[in-house]
């Protein structure tokens, strides 16, 4: 069971603290289903914040991982989106795109932009780019898709809890 305590926000005449018990199974099912909604949100956010032509590499590299852990005091299960090891292989600039900056790995410098035919066009607002030998200047403006998704996740979980309380 999960134990929730609420205080009504808008009705000042009835500031009553209520203790309500919600069957954990209901919440668990809803929160598991939330994975698909959050994946769609994250992919839409990334695609809508990437300007001009882009391959969709980062958005397509976002996958849901379900996990369950048995043993210990309480068995637990859950999900996550965007496994770091997977992203390092398929969208290696995921961190730079989220936090922005002018950074390079190894001896190469990441430059944001896109290819127009054979010509590379610099664009700091795009979530893709190419590696150039270090010394070439360029920076990427942060997309903050992780922070935006965390905020949306909090809102969705609050919504699930509120809906469960209303029955």
């Amino acid at each position: 069971m999960i134990y929730v305590e609420i205080t009504p926000r808008f009705d000042v005449r009835a500031i009553v603290r209520e203790a309500i018990e919600i069957p954990f199974v209901t919440l668990e099912g809803d929160i598991t289903d939330l994975a698909g909604t959050m994946l769609a949100y994250l992919q839409t956010y990334i695609n809508s914040h990437s300007q001009k032509s882009h391959t969709g590499n980062l958005a397509n590299s976002m996958k849901i991982d379900y996990f369950s852990q048995k043993g210990g005091e309480l068995p637990s299960r859950g999900w996550g989106i965007g496994h770091k090891l997977y992203l390092e292989v398929f969208a290696p600039y995921w961190y730079l795109i989220n936090y922005g900056g002018s950074c390079f790995k190894g001896d190469y410098h990441f430059v944001p932009g896109f290819f127009d035919g054979k010509i590379f066009k610099y664009n700091p607002m795009i979530a893709e780019g190419k590696s150039l030998p270090s010394g070439v200047k360029g920076y990427i403006i942060p997309m903050h898709y992780i922070e935006a998704s965390k905020d949306e996740l909090d809102r969705q979980i609050n919504q699930i809890i509120l809906t469960s309380l209303k029955g």
């Binding site: 936090y99 920076y139 922070e147 905020d151």
Partner: protein, 166 residues
């Protein structure tokens, strides 16, 4: 011309941080506080730099059947420091300053010839609903390969509201 809400929030944050950081007991006088992000990479602006951006607004309808809503905005404060100690001091200092919220100003731009002045008028309060704190580490062994602006960075993400029904 008047600024709209998101720009008012950004400008209120910038002027509040500028004033408070320069005052006692903080007395940070050499900090550049800028709007946006890209200017932080301009070499003529000395470190440390604090970059403020208001992004990602969420609109919640206040009740069923109405078009009125309240808005919640994410404000990103990027700190670019020139040492690890300064990075930590600055982020703690900013959290301490902002945790109780700040005055929400509405700005009016008055043009006179070639110059324009932004005049603030206090119109409420910006409430901080949530603060999260993320060190930015590009995980590169040799820090000399990093741009000096990326060596000691920190991100504060604030969820804020002005509590107005629009």
């Amino acid at each position: 011309m008047k600024y709209r809400i998101s720009r008012n929030i950004e400008a209120s944050f910038i002027s509040f941080l500028q004033e408070t950081l320069e005052e006692t007991p903080y007395s940070w006088e050499t900090i550049s506080i800028i709007k946006g992000f890209s200017k932080a990479y301009e070499e003529q602006i000395p470190l440390p730099v604090i970059a403020v951006r208001a992004e990602n607004t969420v609109y919640d309808f206040v009740e069923i059947g109405t078009n009125n809503f309240t808005r919640t905005i994410q404000v990103f404060i990027n700190i670019f420091a020139d040492s690890d100690g300064l990075r930590l001091d600055l982020k703690d200092c900013i959290v301490e300053i902002l945790k109780e919220g700040l005055i929400y100003n509405e700005y009016e731009i008055i043009k006179s010839g070639r110059t324009a002045t932004a005049t603030p008028t206090p119109k409420g309060r910006i409430r901080i609903q949530k603060i999260s704190d993320t060190p930015i580490d590009f995980n590169i062994d040799d820090k000399t390969k990093l741009n000096e602006r990326d060596k000691y960075r920190h991100l504060l993400t604030l969820t804020v509201s002005i509590g107005k029904v629009e």
